[in-house]
């Protein structure tokens, strides 16, 4: 990977993100002209005073703006968490859900819906459920001392994830089939349609709080891809570093899932694609992965609100787009697999 091709990868990813963002603002049930968009951007960013139709301003600021920002935030957060987990578990097939954060968040949200709570309580329930699930998984994994710690964590994640899944199934079975069940299904499929500015204000600080340690530890993250013995012999207290990464990545994922519901594939697919483009070195990989994750989820969300008269759940679209892309990577790229 030469310096030039790294710069090129970043330039292309950023250009794609900018174009997609402009496109996402323009298209939808109420299409906007590019002229109105640039005029509005000039008004808001540089204090200009071009004439813009009032409806256009409302659509951009109240409807599309928060939704686009949410797609960028959730996409970047899921991709960052996935990048951290794939490095830490030394496995390119790991996703941010591996330690049960999504299952825990889902149970928290489903409980909120089941007990007919407000949207805010459901959101908080999802956030707290995600954190609690990972805390339990980590505690169980760490208490099994005689096994490889990575294996113990993954097994604990699988087992507890299954338990949470069956509790969700029970709640769905008991839920009122006319009001609650559709709401539960809707949440579990993931959606950015209802994201309000207040949701962004809730999720962004937590996502940022998770990102900061990952950025600060960007060099040490590389060492987690070695065996525990090697990393420790090179001077890294592996257990403490791993705990810090789990906390940071969980915080990011829980914050994202709390406002978007469960949107799969981003955290699995995007870090993988980014590694293919720029190599595994974490300090270069993390930013690219976040840019690609933001662009990917924005593209998916824009499709989900434009390709059909009704919204197609983005969680369905990520899989529809992600599966062929993933198989293509799998078949074509030998190096990316390692």
């Amino acid at each position: 990977m030469t310096r030039r091709s790294r710069v090129l990868a970043y330039a292309l990813a950023l250009a794609a993100l900018l174009l997609l963002t402009a496109f996402a603002f323009a298209v939808g049930r109420f299409p906007l002209a590019l002229g109105d968009l640039t005029a509005l951007a000039a008004n808001k960013l540089f204090g200009a005073s071009y004439a813009v139709p009032a409806t256009a301003e409302t659509v951009v600021l109240q409807v599309r703006g928060p939704r686009i920002l949410a797609a960028l935030l959730v996409g970047a957060a899921l991709a960052a968490a996935g990048t951290a987990y794939q490095g830490m578990f030394r496995n390119p097939l790991v996703s941010p859900d591996i330690l049960g954060v999504s299952a825990g968040a889902a149970l928290g949200a489903v409980l909120g819906i089941f007990f007919s709570q407000s949207a805010l309580v459901i959101q908080l329930g999802a956030f707290a459920g995600g954190l609690a699930a990972v805390a339990v998984v980590y505690a169980v994994g760490a208490s099994v001392r005689r096994h490889d710690p990575i294996l113990a964590l993954i097994l604990a994640g699988v087992v507890i994830g299954t338990l949470l899944g069956s509790m969700i199934a029970l709640l769905k079975y008991l839920a009122d089939p006319y009001n609650q069940l559709p709401a539960i299904t809707f949440w579990l499929l993931g959606s950015l349609a209802t994201v309000a500015p207040v949701d962004l204000a809730f999720a962004a600080p937590f996502a940022l709080a998770g990102l900061v340690p990952l950025y600060l530890l960007r060099w040490r993250m590389n060492l987690l891809s070695l065996s525990d013995d090697e990393a420790r012999a090179l001077g890294v207290p592996v257990g403490r570093l791993r705990l810090a990464v789990v906390c940071a990545a969980t915080l990011m994922t829980a914050a994202a899932v709390a406002i978007s519901g469960i949107i799969g594939w981003v955290g699995l697919l995007i870090p993988h694609a980014a590694r293919l483009l720029i190599g595994p070195e974490f300090s270069r990989l993390l930013p690219l992965s976040m840019v690609l994750g933001a662009a990917f989820l924005l593209a998916v969300d824009t499709l989900s609100r434009t390709i059909a008269p009704i919204e197609v759940p983005p969680g369905v679209l990520t899989a529809l787009i992600g599966t062929p892309f993933f198989l293509w990577l799998f078949a074509g790229a030998r190096r990316a697999w390692q």
């Binding site: 060099w219 040490r220 001077g235």
Partner: protein, 256 residues
């Protein structure tokens, strides 16, 4: 000569299972200790204990005269470097990036490697003569090339004592000789080296001392000439071995 790596009355093993005990070791600059023993004889367990990766069951390990037990990981890493057996790379780091990881103990927690670290990594790569591999990806190297890259990483670490776990395992004949030559050269430069092997003849080629581990933890230690005898090898490996002298060099010949 100051002792760099020392063990006093060392007992090593896993919780609930003692593998060896009462081991005394002292390595100074220029010493090369060859550790021999059967499969499952505790070579790797001993190495993990010497590196502080496994707590000592009895006695103590000292690095530059200080008790290893009380040292933070970074302090240990700056004193003793480790070349693991068969580095299993998952991700496609380049050789330069992998060697740079050896600098971790010199880089503060939130920092990335600086110019001095890059220079140290490049020096280590040059010292091993693998400059042409620097841009290659570790997962695509041959076993011998990867072993040299891992030795370079240990050199970049800046430690003056090195522990190599079966550095010649699964290498072809030429690469085995290259690794042994590297061990001798490092000792001549003032490193203290411990390595393990399954070929007792390597002790004559590269080592100044030999530690023979037998099943059950019985220990023999001394110069290669003292320790590598037909009788000792029969006791450890259970096969007949003739120790012969060919043109002034000693070699082990198994009797079939």
């Amino acid at each position: 000569m100051a002792v760099m790596l020392e063990a006093r009355g060392l007992g090593y093993g896993y919780p609930g299972r003692a593998v060896g005990r009462g081991l005394d070791l002292a390595l100074a600059a220029g010493d090369v200790l060859c550790v021999l023993g059967p499969n499952g004889g505790g070579k790797t367990t001993l190495f993990r204990t010497l590196l502080g990766l496994l707590p000592a069951q009895a006695g103590e390990v000292l690095l530059d005269g200080r008790a290893l037990e009380a040292m933070p990981r970074g302090d240990i890493a700056r004193r003793v470097g480790y070349v693991p057996q068969g580095h299993a790379a998952q991700f496609a780091f380049t050789v330069r990036e992998a060697v740079l990881m050896g600098r971790t103990a010199h880089i503060s927690l939130f920092a990335a490697p600086g110019a001095a670290d890059r220079a140290a990594a490049d020096r280590a790569i040059e010292a091993l003569g693998i400059g042409s591999l620097a841009g290659r990806v570790v997962t695509e190297l041959s076993g011998g090339e990867r072993q040299l890259a891992m030795i370079a990483r240990a050199l970049a670490q800046g430690a003056r004592a090195l522990v190599l776990d079966e550095p010649t395992a699964s290498l072809d004949f030429g690469n085995q000789v290259r690794v042994l030559r590297e061990i001798r050269r490092l000792a001549a430069e003032g490193y203290a080296v411990v390595f393990s092997t399954h070929d007792p003849g390597q002790a004559f080629l590269a080592a100044s001392r030999v530690l023979l581990l037998a099943q059950g933890g019985a220990l023999r230690q001394g110069t290669p000439d003292e320790v590598i005898t037909g009788e000792n090898l029969r006791a450890v490996y259970g096969v007949e071995v003739r120790v012969a002298t060919v043109d002034g060099a000693r070699a082990c010949l198994p009797v079939l």
